[in-house]
Every structure is written in C-alpha cells, then in structure tokens.
Symmetry: D2
Subunit: 367 residues, 4 copies
C-alpha cells in the first residue's frame, strides 16, 4: 500500500533506492513564506554523510540536494517542495554475489515474501540511504520550528554499552567527535571499543537521545494522535530501531507514583512549571511545556564481514560474507535522522493544533 | 483535530468520557461475513473490568456492550459496527474538590492549555475508561485474526520491578492470578509488594509483553508503515505508556551484530526459519514469519492518595489528596488493552498487504 | 474498507441502518468552546423528517437526537462528539417480500455482489436514513460557520423539470412550501405535477441549489483538495445524486472565454470584487470571496409502486411491486442534506487553511 | 495543507510548476510485478502534448518522462515510483508583464489571498502543466487495469456547443481528428467554429465523456467512498472543470422513476444484467457490472488575447492582454487527463475492495 508518507497537514513522501537513479522527498503542506535554499538543507544532509570517520562507511557520497519545486524567488510558495539527490558512486557489483542470499538481520527475506522479488542492490529501498529524504525534509521542518522558538539537541547517549556521563554533558562537544556524543571521554572509550569490534569484523548498536525545547503546552492530541505516540512511530519507522522511550521510559515501570509524578509550581512571573520531568515533557499525550526528551534504540549494523550462515533463494543453506562498504556503527549517522523525524513530527502537531479552540479560530478569521 | 481514529482499511474511532453518558467505538472496514454477537466482545471487556481484585479499582462497572449497527442475522455486513457501553456508577462528586487543580502526572494541565477548559470529572476523555472502545474493537479484530490462524499471548512481564522467570513460563497461569502473570511465584511477590505500596498510598508500574503467533511473512510495509512502527504507535497511544520495544529492544543496543543477527535455516519440509529471534519477528518493518514479541512500559498510576503539591487553575500553589477509587496498579487491566491494540494493528496490516503483488490481484479478480 | 468517514481536520464518521437499533455520527476535530445542545441539532434534523407533507414518506419518525459525549457544561470540549438517534416505527415485515429480489435503481444487487449478502430491511445502510448522521453533523458545522460569518441558502431549484423563476426569488418562501422552493408559483406547479405522478405510482427527481456567503478568499487547496472538488465529492456521496456543477457548470462548456471570465474591479473601500460570478465563487479550486453557488442533481426515487421487472437472488426473473412508505420525491428532504454536507466541507477547508502562511503561524504562536 | 495527493492504497502525489525545473509524480502503492518502462508512460503523455494542431497551444514541449525509482529489471518492485519530466522551452518573460495583475478566470488572485504571494510565471502550480503528473500516473494505473480486463474509451463529446451524433459513434475516429471526437463531421464543425473564435481572440469549452468497461460489480464503497463520488472528486480536481455527471446525470433530474430505473434480467448463461443503463454503471455508489459512463464539463480557456478589465496587486483597475502561447480550446488535451484520473480512481477502488469479504480474505491467506 501507500506507505511512504507520514504526517497529516505537513506531510512528506519519500522515494528512491540506494542503487537507483536517486533518492528524494516531496514535502507537502509547507507554509508559504519561508526563506529556503539548498544550503539550508545541505547542512543537515552533511551530518548523515558517510566517509567522515573510520567508524562509518568509507563510501564517498556527494549527496548534493536539488530543490525542484515549491520555492520561488527564495521563498516557499505553499505548493509541494520536491527535493532530489542523485545517486553516484554505486558499486552494484559488490552485491552480485549476495543477490540470491537472505542476509541475516536484513530485509531481503521479507521483501521477497511480500513482493515476490526485490531490488537486491545494496538493500534497495531498505537501505539506510532511504533516510536522505527524511533528513532533507527534517531540515525544512527544523528551520520553520526555529522561527517558532523550538530547538533540538540530539546526540548519541550510548554506543556499544558505553554511556555518556550526564554530569559532564557538553553540548559543544557533540559536533566535535565522530560519535556525536556530548562527552569527550565516553566518545574516546567508544572509539577504542569500536576499533576492536571492527577488527573482529563485528558491529555495535546504541541509543540516540533527543531533547526538544520551546514546544508550547498543549501540542499533540488525546487518544491516537498523542505526541508521544507519533514520535514513537516516527522513530520506529527508521531502519534498525528496536525501541523507543519518552521521559523515564522503561525506568518509570520500576518507579512508584510518589516519585514519578512531577509536581507543579508557579514561578516568580506567575507561570506554571513542573519541578521534575519524569514524564519527558508530555502528559496525556500533549506537550506540557517542559523539555521533551526521548530515546531511540538502534540494533548493531546487520552487515558484518564475518562468515554467516543463511539460506539462499533456492532454499539451500549457505555461508556468506557481506562485502561492500558498511557502517560498523550506524548510530553516529542516525543522530541527524532522529532529529529530522522529530522535527517533522513536532511541526505537524503544531500545525494541526491551531484548530483546537473556537475562540482562536474566530480571532484568526478576524470575527 | 480528528485524533480519535486509527487504522487505514480496518479503522476504529472511539468516543466518550468516563463520567459522560457512555463510551463507544465505531469499527469501519470490518469484512463482511464474520459471525459476531455481544458475547464475543464481552469476554474481552470483562478482562479490563475494575473490581476484580484488591489490586485494582474497587469500582463496579457492569460494562455491558451493545451492538448498534453493522451486524445482521448474526453476521457482520461490511458496514460500520457501532458499539456502546453506557456509563453507570459515576460518582462525580468525588471530583468536585479537584476540579480546579492540576493533578500531578495527569493531563488536567495540558487539556486546559490546549482547549481552554476541560471535563474535569474523572479525567474525562483522558481516563483509562477511554480504553473500553479499544478493547471492544480489539475483540472483533482478534476474532477475525483467529480465523486466519493468528493467536495472541499477552501478560504482565514485570510489575514494580518484579519480573517473571522465563524458565517457569506457564501460559495457563496467566488467567489465574490477579496480575495476569505467567509465573505464580512472581505474582505472589508482586501481591506482597503491592500490598505494601497500597498501604503507603503509593502506586506502581510495570511492563506488559505480547507475543503474536501465526502472522505470515511480509506483513507491514517498508518505510513509514512498518509493522513495528505501527505497533509502537498503537501502544504509545495508550495512556500511561512511556516505552515500547520489539524483539531484544533496548538490549539490542548493547549487543553486537554477530550475536544479534538471526541466522536463517531450512527445516525438513523445506521451509525457511530463523534459528534465533532477536529481531522479535520483523525485518525491515515486515513480519518475518517468526513470533512477533514486544514489550510496553507503563508508568505508575498517577492517582495516589498521598498529599501532593501542585497548582490550581487560578495559578496558586496548593496541596491535594486524590480521592476516588483508583487502580494502585494499572498493569493488570492494561494487559487486554495491549492485546486489543495489537490485534487492531495486525489486522489492518494484513488487509492492506493483500494488494502488494500484481499476480495475486489478478488471481483475486480471476484474470 | 473504512468508507464511512469524511474530512481531514473536522472529520465525521456515520453509522447505522434504517431498520437497526439506530443511526448516528461521531464528529471528531470539533473546536473546543462552542455552545452546543440537542436543540441546535434538532432544528436541522426536523428539516429532513418524513411525514411533513403528502409529497414525502408518510412515516412518522421522532428522530430525537442525543448527545453522548464531547459536550460539558454546555460547551464542546474538543473531544469527539457522539450523536445518536434511536430508530423507531420500523415495519420490517414490509420488506420480507422483497428480501430475495434486486429492486431496480436500488443498491440491493451491488451490496450482494460486494459483501455476499445484505441487510435487506429498508435498504439497510443504503437507505436515505443514513443521512441523519450527516445532517446532525452539518448542524454543528453550520453553527460554527455562522460564528465566522458564513451563511447558507439552500433550496429546490427544480423538481420534475419545473424550475424556479430567478426573478421572483423569495428567500422567505423557502421554508413555507412543501418543496423548499424560493418561488411559490413554481412550488404550486410542482405540487400539481407531483400529485399526478403519485397517482400513477411514479416518482420524480430534481435539482438542489446551495449558495454560501461569507467565505473568505483563499479557502480550499490547489490540485486535489480544491474546494470545488470536495464539495463535489460531498454531494455525489449522497444517495440518488447523479450530477454536480459549480457556478455556470455545464453551461460554461457552451460559453466562451470573453463571456465566462469574471472581470475584477475595486470598490469604493478599495476591496477587490468580481463584476460577474460565472465561476461560482472559486478560482483554481480556492474560494475567491464571492458567493459560492453550486447545484446537485437527484434522480427520481427508485422505490415506485408500479409493477417492475427484475431478478431474484436465485437468478430468476420476477415481477415486483415495492410496498413500504416511500418518498415520491426525494428532493424536499434532500435540501437540508445538501446544506449539511456543504457546511461540513467548508468548515474542514477553513480549518486546514489556517496553516497556509508562515507569518500567520508565527503570529498565532506569538513569535 | 498537504493537498497534492489522492488515493488510499494506490496513492499519487504530484509536484511542480510550469516554469520551475520540472514536474513530477510519486506513485505509492503500485503492486509489485508490473512490467513497466518509460514507453508505457510516454504514450499517454504524448496525448496531452501541446503543439499537435492549430487548435491547441503551439508550444513545443518534449515532455520526456524519466523513471527514477520503483522499477528494477523492468518490473515494479512495490516501492514508490518517482516520475519526472524536466521543463524546457520556458519563456518566462512572456509573463513579466502580468506578474502584478490578476488575470480574470485564473487563480492569480486566490493564490495571493491564500499564500500572500505566488509564482506568477505561467500560473505556476495552477497551470495545466500540473496535469503531466496525473497523466503519467494514469498511464501506470491504466496498464494495471488492462491486465484486469478494464478498458477506457474517452473522447470529446461536445465542444463549443457542438455535440457528437451518438448514432455515428466511431471509436477509431477518436485518435484521427484534432479534437479526439468519435464523429468526424462534428469534429469538422468544431474546427470551423474554433477557427472563428481564434480569429476573435476568444476561447471555447466543452464536455469530455469517459466510458469504462470491464469493472466487476461491487467496486466502490457505500456512503462517502462511493465510486461515483470519487470519480467526481477526481474530475473536479482538474483545472477548468465546472461540472460532473454520471449516467443520465442532470437529465435524470427531469426523468421519472418508471423510466429511470434500470430493470434487471438474466441472460442465457444465467448472468444478471440491466436492460438499460440510466444509472451509468453504479448503484448505491458501487459498480453494477455495466459500463461506467460519466461526463466532465470544462469552461473555456481563461487565457484570451482580447483586452480585459482587471485589478493589479496594488489595488488599481487596469486593462490587460494575455500573451503567451495558450490553448484556445483546452478540451482536446484534457481528454487524456480525464482518462488518467478515472484510471487512478478505479484502480484504488479495486484494490481496497479486496478486503470486503472475510471468506475471500481467508482464501487469500489460504486458511
């Protein structure tokens, strides 16, 4: 079915395979009047580019984005924005050997079961390259949100079991190390562990944390369109994601009500705040005005160069080694994908929230 | 916005507040020809009824469901099925005292911020009573799925930090103890801990685990409509849920590729299986034919009888005690809600999957 | 599939069959703060009640609407509003004779082909009684729109080929005659013709015209969500409708550009207007600030008491006479259905339009 | 809002402006396994190309389509198909003069009112060039439908008030004359009338008729997703369309029940048919197995070279002459657009219909 779109009012549709002609995204429902050029998007895309350290894929992808529609004289017109990145540096022959095999941990088998066959080159549509469209769209959403005072801080919280120390959290550090960690020492430990795992032709996973500041209270809708539910869906739709939690998340399940409830208080200016933030910035599925904080768990990259046991399309058991230039750790490049999907989700929720109250609708239409 | 519906082809829309005239659900897109009567639904609803042990709310709710449409001569007709449960046993006066307060951990504050005011009686729409519609709809979905050979096993995996022992897993036990745990000893420990917490006017949370067997491979769609993403959204849309994980979930983030990848093999009948199931039954967002297994984390019930500090609607700090008949542990009654939402999600994915391949469409239309 | 809902942000879902327990509708996405009680809805429902003249069905239906949710202390809360009308005065036995026949002009055959069987009593879901939910929802939409200065004038423009004289258009007259025509003389002629057709056990059709004033310019979206396209879909979704046109409609097809183009001018207050309104109030799918005017063509009631030739479910040719208490002319009772569907469509378009411009979004969120 | 998509399971999203970098479409939900190459699509696109006769725009557009994704080794993979046509031959300077004017009959004014400004070059997104994406998508839909035995016959039924003679209907003739009329004599008369109107710098409209054969009974859904309602929306979403009717349409409104009802009979093979087809192939919103036939009314091209009176963006009244290379008659090039939108609508309805009956779902999943 049509499963390549997400969002209600601000809606994106991605397309493309890793070894096809290109990848892209249509952004529909972008408000008119936003100043937008390729550079706004390119900055985001560069954060997901491979080849930036020895811990990620050595592929060189130029990944230059082209705006094909929806922008006129430097501003968005309200019509759909089509963004495309042409593929290059494709080494399809790397995949010829495995075209008849079901790689463990990959979607080869499920694609064949669903569709009868698949574009086997590099995973086709299930490749991480599919996230180019997400990141490009997220760049536009984030730019709009920044004008509404909403900012994101996203980073690797844990890789290969090595976690950051929250006491030394350094926001500036995030962009300085190869792992996008806000803790230089943790990043160093990860580097050592990763080296070792790479040497063993193995791979590791990790956890990405995202904090969103400036979201006004009341965003999200009760019942099925909770902001937490939509953030969860957005994250779990990213390849390799196996878990999502908001606020204290799974730790809340072992807490108790007296501890887990966040008391309200009134500050000197008479505004309502919470003393703690176990809830992670949402109550009843709507933002509560405090920082939204959530975590997303990534499994280890399934493409490993070790010999693995599997089955081929003829139903025979075989051994395979996965060649190609893969990311031993997917987490560093996933950080910006998480942020992009969060921005897309928050923007859509902000837009639909404009219709919640009759008095504000009357005001909008000047009645 | 319209946030009370979920699903694409099989789509449910819930309505109702805990202290209004009733709660209900419309099921649209139910295939024609299913034998259905109130009893099919009542059995599910009884699993979420309060008053069944001292560990949940002592309220007595008869919760008798009425089928108002869509069934003729005992079978579904393909038109929308409207199900209603009239409310009774409402003690709205319990809530008079807190109508001007923002209860910590509840949605009172966010409802007011979004809509300008709220139905304060018992939490209104954000009450757990909203799940009646979900469970009634889930009963119908589960009945259809059982005819397709798909079965659910759902239970409390952990409450208040006390986990089941997987080695003594006893499916029969689930329906025998007050906590829906598949381990009688663990349930006993939980009973003791819960007693203590109740005495302290406190509350506890926990984790519900759901296993789904019989889902054919290839269900779910790549990119945004992954079966894992939709299960995640469905779970995170349940009140009090703070986390979701599938397969090894957050534990996968500390694993490595060599361990986490599930090898494929061929059994004696020539069918393809996986030797392990770290992925939890999905690869690339599509079911892989093995058991789907996921967990949902519930926070402790926010309604506690301890004195709490908060703010009232006039912006003054106040102390409150929450009266009313609340569940000290929400998890036991949430088990069936998790199962219901899973059934709704899986059925919708199965239906949309029918259009994935041209050859099967041609066969369907006999060309 | 789920086909009983319409709308994006303001979304309604109807349910119910004519001879089941009742009919109803869920309104989701209703803005909070609207004063609403049963009387607001009842007035609209009374306009579609049968038994009000000899030209429509003599059935007596009390059609009392009950608000089941979404309203608290007299105001909408922003949560879904569930409205129900219990069925009464059902004479199912009238239908026993035809349960095995495919009535010409009815949906009996197509329901059986699609679903394998049908609720044959009174047409079940395809009965005109299905419009109760539409009209109840339209009453709520129209009340909101009236607060935004948007008003509807809806009437029978033509019945049985007898058209109103636009030169004697009398708005007050609409509610005074049995046909809801704004021309007393035309109504009289229709009465005579209708008498004759009733005597011949025959039926007639007609055209309903709707004028909408006060819609600001820019409502509706380019391409697929044109306001004209959505009005058309809303009208063509009403049973018995065979045509829709906006502005000059089919007459525009025989006009020429020099005549059909509406020139713009500036009035004394400096506001832009069109000198003519051939376009019917829309340009490029968006409202242009002038009156929106459209027409909907209804076929003659298919239920006629004449002997008709048809086929039964065993595949034999048979003769049938349709008993029961049917409307010889469906148009009078359809007038309010047209208005209701128009109100639902316009309100949804107004709400989604709030997100069109970034400057107004920033203003809304006070940045 | 996101208004550039249409369809539920087979869903298309168009993008692009006439004087931007290109136009395109994403087709999501295309079943896997369809043989598809650019030529399949190019044939359809060629039918809407300008410059093919003196009665349409003399612009030369190469309109070569490129498949960017979703096809592998000549077959669709089930993933989104991205199609693009690069723009060329843009003479933006033609539009410089009118960038500050609101052309009568065009969407200039409404775009400005909605979005605050607009891409004024050639109408931007509201140009007829937007239909390239629709036609490309329709080509794919039509190819799938042809494999299911569904065929379209689409032609100009009337231009400038000159109608075809149904008695001389000649299907072969449609592709032979400049107007896509199935009646050579009528086409000749139109040619004469059109010549005269062109000489007068005027334009004309017309009616496109579409017949669809081979649709099985039961396609479409009751209530809001009637096949007639969705065909109506699809047609009314095409620029310049002012009316839609199915079967006898507006003529049904002046008919009577005895005449308008289509009697059923059984043929020699025991299959059920209708003796007449006043309904146009649908009953109760579902296909009835007979030919689906509908008409779409197009207004005269608003771009005329005559001097016209209008208003500029500074609110002053001005005179304008519209230069550029416009179609004096839009109908010939609209024929294929109507067919494309019909194919898109029918295919989506066929796909969602697969889930209507439980017995067929069980059969599909082999239970």
């Amino acid at each position: 079915m049509a499963g390549s779109s997400i969002g209600t009012i601000f809606r994106i549709t991605t397309w493309g395979e890793t070894h096809g002609k290109g990848v892209g995204v249509i952004l529909d429902g972008v408000p008119a009047g936003l100043e937008l050029c390729e550079d706004d998007i390119q900055g985001y895309l560069n954060r997901r580019k491979p080849g930036q350290s020895k811990f990620v894929s050595p592929r060189k992808e130029s990944d230059l984005v082209e705006i094909l529609s929806g922008v006129f004289e430097g501003r968005t017109t309200g019509t759909p924005i089509s963004l495309m990145v042409r593929n290059s540096n494709q080494r399809s022959k790397d995949y010829g050997k495995i075209k008849d095999c079901y790689r463990p941990g990959h979607a080869d088998y499920t694609f064949d079961q669903k569709y009868g066959f698949r574009d086997y080159r590099g995973g086709g549509r299930s490749s991480g390259r599919e996230t180019v469209g997400r990141v490009a769209a997220g760049a536009v959403a984030a730019k709009i949100l920044s004008q509404l005072g909403i900012e994101f801080t996203t980073y690797a919280k844990e890789i290969g079991g090595i976690s950051i120390d929250r006491n030394v959290f350094d926001k500036e550090e995030i962009m300085k190390n190869a792992f996008y960690m806000p803790d230089a020492k943790a990043a160093e430990k990860v580097a050592q562990y990763a080296q070792q795992m790479i040497a063993e032709k193995n791979s590791i996973g990790g956890i990405v944390e995202c904090r969103i500041n400036g979201v006004p209270a009341g965003i999200g809708d009760p019942v099925f369109e909770k902001i937490s539910a939509n953030l969860g869906k957005a994250m779990l739709s990213i390849g390799a994601v196996k878990g999502f939690e908001i606020g204290d998340g799974f730790a809340a399940a072992v807490s108790n009500g007296a501890v887990n409830n966040d008391d309200f208080y009134v500050n000197e200016e008479g505004r309502v705040f919470k003393r703690t933030n176990h809830s992670g910035g949402t109550l009843g599925g709507m933002s509560d005005g405090s920082e939204i904080i959530f975590r997303t768990a990534f499994k280890p990259t399934p493409s490993i160069a070790q010999m693995q046991h599997t089955v081929n399309t003829s139903g025979e058991e075989v051994e395979i080694e996965i060649l190609g230039r893969h990311d031993p750790i997917i987490v560093p490049r996933a950080v910006v994908v998480v942020e992009a999907m969060a921005a897309i989700t928050i923007l859509d929720a902000l837009l639909v929230n404009m219709t919640a109250r009759l008095d504000r609708i009357c005001e909008f239409y000047d009645r």
